[in-house]
């Protein structure tokens, strides 16, 4: 069975046969076992039964034999007595009376005998005298009549009382008795008759006869002698039927068995001696031989059970039990084996199905990817053509059609891209890049993407990045952008008022703050959030109830001022503010940066019942959502997958009618400390972001805003430009005074930025007016004399005020006018704030230009180039007019006098000595004659000229050898080697790069080459 269990694999059909066969065999085997058990038990029982029978039978036989022999011995002893008496002629001592008495008293010695009798031997000649002496005639035994004449007679003369009827009967008249008498007197030993019916009692019995001799006979006497010497006979009757019955009944269990005693002298015809039923000799019969002391006769006892043996119930039940148990065990194992097979088969089927399903899934994804890709290519064509079509002259309707078509096409492309992403993610083929990128720039980009819409709807869009977040991270900028775009796009879609706030922190800080504060999610007591601090101007309670970016309630309060303040404190705590050298001194040595990015909106929120399905692809809140807001609902699912690829997690908190906050974490690498940011910006095209202008370094700004969160955002953007920021959060008198003092009297403040909605819609516009008042008041108090004597006018104050800028989400023309009237003469900064926008506005307002302060080394570099090239005559050789013009422009800028030609041949003509050029920039690859060839010819011409010169013809001014620099786009080693080989003096990369140009040129001009 175990072997069966251990089997595995192989053909299932064979399998089934295999163990079914085994099961059948097992059943057969168990049947055999139980049969053999049955047989063995049965045989044992039979043996036991026979043994019992044997014991019982033998016991009876031996007892019978003993009693029989005892009886016979006593008769023999009586015979010996009679013989002795005859020999001594004293037989007359016994008469009937004495004999009967004696026999009676010794009857216990002969337990099986019914009685004994003595008969005289009477010859026929003596008959008369004998009859006379006894007074009776000799009678025939059965008829009791007078005996006929025979040769001799044996009339019984003495008998025991029990057989007294024998007296006077001739014993030789009975067949059995006669034979017996004859045999007994001839042998001299006792003889037994066949069993026969005894006289009177008619019981079955045998007669035992001894001969009594009148003389003493020797042991070897012949039968004749014995016959002659015979005087009489002593006989005893065994009433077997009665007496043996009595004897046997004394044994225990006599009713169980039937006992028969047979005379088997004639073996062919055994004579029944005792027994009610005939017991034939069979295997159920036990036969025990008997010796009754007559060698002529043989007897045996046959015993058998009265009843047939009972069926062997024990054996039957035992064997049946064994069989049943065996069968059940076999069946169980067989069934379980079948079950296992079935389960294995199922399992195998499931595995196959799973493989099929997986393959189908992969195939689906691949199909999607392929199809999406294939659709994209022609779609790009369609879009490009549409674009070109729109560039042509179209009337308004046509333009509108074309625009609609293009918008639809773009939407389709977006959808296809999303599906492609989804497919890629599902088939596991999406791999993330690891390149350096500028986080701030990406967020700025995203903001600018959505700025139009947010401006139109008056939604505040803001980004805040913790200062501890390194500005350059290594990761996948495209995918990060995609996530942010998805989230912000989603928010924009579902938000009609309030704000969308993107916030980036280090997750360590976030965790510490979250642990530190009693942050308990949504169940906070909202009254804590209100801003009714002391000294605050009463706010418009309706929309300023919550201290968030825009004052609207948000779903997750992690960006409310309470949490934000803690975060800022946490960040300040470990942030080292005095590093400005664009190195990142990140405190932990760990290279991994864990970011927490949250995108918070105050939109419609996600209905509770769909919140768990938000990340399922193509799942939107309900079908009406897509009708109302459009979109496919795939973006969030992709974003989530992307975040997971960045080993982060995305979660959200959303409350219907209040808003949603999506938060995700992401892991990025940070750049190695030794890598300089500006190096990256110059060499790495991935960054592709121009360095922020440095001209605002060290300036000071005052930010006036009633909302702490918003003011922090403004501060964050200004700080990126290197501007130091002071905040004014309330309009209280003292703070205004301080601000006025700092800005006017204290000096040092370069600009004041006021939020348009600082204390409610449009309130910020009036700020300059208030400031002027407050400042004049302040000055008056400080210096009464000065104030009263000079008489400060608003105009005076206003003139001395720093540049005022209004920060607004959107401005109507009316508001523009109002702002101008109130003193915002300088600029209006339209939100969302971005570094590039802000710097442009500041430049506009302050009249500070980037160039002026941008990197002194650059200016020095260009100055020294200027010095080198100033007044030099340079020939530019390039067939490409654009290149030519660019090179010319660049060289002109450094003060060189430039002449251009468009081919190698022209250059040869120009440079034919004598000439007055100081240097030549030659394109390498030109049609007709390339730069190398031209250079060789020029060099040859110079050689000839110098030979002429050495011949004495001196021209006033010409270089022996004009420096020729190759201009080439492929800056590779081979080109350089080739340049030098054909007589050029160096090369500059096209397009010109200042430093390289300087290096190349300086080599000749500084070393006094000319």
């Amino acid at each position: 069975m175990n072997a069966q269990m251990a089997g595995g694999g192989g053909d299932s059909l064979w399998f089934e046969h295999w163990h079914t066969k085994l099961f059948i065999l097992w059943v057969f085997f168990m049947a055999l076992v139980s049969l053999s058990v049955y047989l063995q038990m049965n045989a044992e029982m039979l043996v036991r039964r026979r043994d019992t029978l044997k014991t019982m039978c033998e016991g009876r036989a031996r007892m019978l034999e003993n009693q029989f022999l005892a009886s016979m011995n006593h008769v023999r002893a009586l015979t010996a007595l009679f013989t002795t008496l005859h020999i001594s002629k004293q037989i007359a001592m016994f008469n009937q009376e004495t004999f009967s008495q004696y026999a009676e008293s010794t009857a216990f010695e002969r337990p099986l005998m019914s009685g004994v009798a003595y008969a005289d031997r009477v010859l026929h000649e003596d008959r008369e005298s004998f009859e006379m002496s006894h007074g009776w005639t000799i009678k025939e035994m059965f008829s009791k009549e007078k005996q006929q004449v025979f040769e001799e007679y044996a009339p019984a003369t003495m008998s025991q009382d029990t057989v007294s009827y024998l007296t006077s009967l001739d014993m030789m008249s009975g067949q059995e008795d006669r034979e017996n008498i004859l045999r007994a007197r001839a042998s001299g030993k006792g003889a037994l008759t066949n069993p026969f019916r005894l006289l009177e009692s008619k019981h079955l019995g045998v007669v035992f006869t001894f001969a009594v001799y009148s003389i003493h006979l020797p042991p070897d006497a012949t039968p004749d002698e014995r016959v002659k010497a015979t005087a009489g006979y002593l006989g005893g009757a065994f009433d077997v039927e009665t007496l043996v019955e009595n004897l046997l009944h004394g044994f225990p269990g006599s009713e169980m068995i039937a006992v028969n005693v047979y005379d088997i002298t004639n073996e062919l015809c055994p004579l029944v001696m005792y027994g009610h039923t005939n017991v034939s000799k069979s295997e159920n019969t036990y036969v025990s031989s008997l010796d009754f002391g007559d060698p002529q006769r043989k007897h045996e006892m046959r015993c058998r059970y009265n009843e047939d043996a009972l069926p062997p119930w024990t054996a039957i039940s035992t064997s049946v039990g064994i069989f049943v148990i065996g069968f059940l065990v076999g069946h169980m194992l067989h069934a379980s084996r079948n079950r296992i097979d079935k389960v294995e088969e199922n399992c195998r089927m499931f595995k196959e199905l799973k493989v099929l399903a997986d393959e189908a899934s992969v195939a689906k994804s691949q199909f999607l990817a392929t199809v999406s890709h294939e659709i994209r290519t022609p779609m790009n064509g369609v879009l490009g053509m549409l674009q070109m079509l729109m560039d042509t002259r179209l009337d308004a309707t046509q333009q509108d059609y074309a625009r609609t078509a293009q918008a639809s096409g773009k939407a389709l492309i977006t959808l296809i891209n999303e599906v492609l992403d989804q497919a890629k993610i599902e088939s596991g083929r999406l791999e993330l890049e690891a390149v350096p990128f500028d986080l701030c720039a990406i967020l700025d980009d995203v903001l600018s993407l959505f700025s139009g819409k947010s401006r139109d709807e008056g939604i505040e869009l803001a980004v805040y990045i913790s200062e501890k977040v390194p500005s350059i991270l290594i990761g996948d900028p495209g995918r990060f952008r995609q996530i942010i775009i998805n989230l912000v796009g989603n928010s924009i879609k579902f938000t009609e008022r309030g704000h969308i706030f993107v916030c980036v922190h280090l997750s360590e800080d976030m965790e510490m703050v979250m642990e530190g504060s009693d942050y308990s999610g949504d169940d906070d007591d909202y009254s804590d959030w209100e801003v009714d601090g002391p000294g605050c101007v009463p706010l418009d309670m309706k929309c300023n109830q919550f201290n968030t970016l825009s004052g609207y309630e948000t779903a997750d309060d992690r960006n409310s001022w309470e949490t934000f303040e803690l975060l800022l404190a946490q960040e300040q705590h470990s942030y080292n503010p005095d590093h400005d050298d664009h190195h990142w001194n990140f405190s932990d040595g760990n290279d991994v940066v864990n970011l927490v990015v949250s995108v918070e909106d105050t939109g419609v929120g996600i209905p509770l019942h769909v919140q768990e399905r938000v990340f399922t692809p193509f799942m939107q809140a309900d079908s009406s959502t897509s009708r109302t807001y459009g979109g496919t609902g795939i973006g969030l699912s992709i974003s989530k997958c992307l975040v997971e690829l960045m080993s982060g997690k995305m979660r959200f908190v959303s409350r219907p009618k209040i808003g949603s906050t999506f938060t995700f974490t992401a892991k990025f690498q940070q750049m190695h400390n030794s890598v300089h940011e500006s190096m990256l910006r110059n060499t790495n095209s991935v960054l592709q972001v121009r360095l922020l202008p440095t001209c605002f370094q060290g300036m000071q700004a005052l930010v006036v805003d009633g909302r702490p969160v918003r003011s922090e955002v403004t501060r964050h953007h200004l700080r990126r430009l290197g501007v130091q920021v002071m905040l004014i959060l309330s309009l209280s008198q003292s703070e205004c005074s301080a601000a006025a003092f700092h800005s006017t009297v204290g000096g040092g403040i370069d600009m004041i930025l006021v939020d348009k909605d600082a204390w409610g819609a449009g309130t910020g516009i009036r700020f300059p007016h208030m400031l002027c008042q407050s400042a004049s008041e302040h000055l008056r108090q400080r210096n009464k004399y000065f104030a009263s004597s000079v008489g400060l006018s608003h105009g005076f104050i206003a003139a001395r005020l720093p540049k005022m800028m209004l920060v607004a989400t959107s401005m109507t023309d009316n508001e523009h006018k109002l702002a101008r009237e109130n003193g915002f003469t300088d600029s209006v900064v339209i939100k969302p704030l971005r570094a590039s926008m802000l710097s442009a506005c500041l430049q506009q307002a302050l009249g500070v230009w980037n160039r002026r302060d941008q990197g002194r080394e650059l200016r020095e570099g260009s100055r020294s180039l200027h010095k080198l090239l100033s007044g030099k005559r340079v020939l530019v050789v390039d067939d490409n007019p654009v290149n030519r013009r660019v090179a010319e422009g660049a060289l002109l800028k450094y003060g060189a006098q430039v002449e251009c030609v468009n081919s190698g041949r022209a250059a040869i003509v120009k440079l034919k000595p004598p000439h007055n050029f100081d240097a030549c920039f030659m394109d390498v690859q030109m049609p007709e004659m390339d730069g190398f060839e031209a250079t060789e010819i020029i060099r040859k011409a110079e050689m000839e000229a110098s030979e002429c010169m050495s011949g004495g013809i001196l021209t006033k001014y010409h270089p022996v050898r004009i420096p020729i620099l190759a201009m080439t786009a492929d800056v590779i080693q081979a080109t350089q080697a080739e340049c030098l080989l054909c007589g050029m003096d160096g090369y500059v990369a096209k397009p010109f790069e200042e430093q390289q140009l300087y290096n190349a040129v300086a080599h000749f001009f500084e070393a006094g080459y000319v």
Binding site: S448, Q688, Q843, G847, W849, R852
Partner: protein, 153 residues
């Protein structure tokens, strides 16, 4: 129109072009080459680029249209186009030219046709954007604004 608004549009446009990889650092340098002594430098270069490109594109279309194609000719034309586009910093045009040249090396007719189409599209794109930019700059200058990249004060 307000100067601030125009300036903002200008900044947005420039940002867009850099972000989409239409332009690279070279264009920045060109902008810096423009100064009082050379006030229309950028416009001049850009117009030159347009003229030149138009011519090269026509030539290339002609060359490609012939059968058999003279790959040497087309290669040199692409090289010219690559040169001028890289001079002006039209990065994407330049990149397409690079792949175009590999097709020329391989004498891959289909590849060349596709590349020509692509380079044309890229060129049209940058052309449109640059024209918009120049238009904006003109407007800014016209109402007395200063271009951010110019040395103003």
């Amino acid at each position: 129109m307000d100067v601030a608004k125009l300036l903002q549009q200008h900044v947005d446009l420039m940002d867009d072009m850099f972000k989409e990889g239409l332009l690279d650092e070279q264009f920045n340098q060109l902008q810096q080459l423009q100064d009082e002594s050379n006030p229309n430098f950028l416009e001049e270069v850009v117009s030159l680029f347009f003229e030149d490109s138009q011519r090269i594109l026509e030539n290339m279309t002609e060359t490609i249209g012939k059968d058999p194609i003279d790959y040497k000719v087309i290669d040199s034309q692409v090289h010219q186009f690559k040169g001028s586009s890289s001079s002006i910093g039209a990065q994407r045009v330049k990149n397409v030219c690079v792949t175009f040249r590999t097709y020329c090396d391989k004498e891959d007719k289909k590849g060349c046709q596709d590349a020509l189409e692509e380079v044309g599209e890229e060129y049209n794109l940058i052309k449109k954007k640059l024209e918009t930019m120049l238009e904006l700059e003109k407007q800014i200058v016209a109402i007395g604004g200063t271009l951010p990249f110019m040395e103003g004060c």
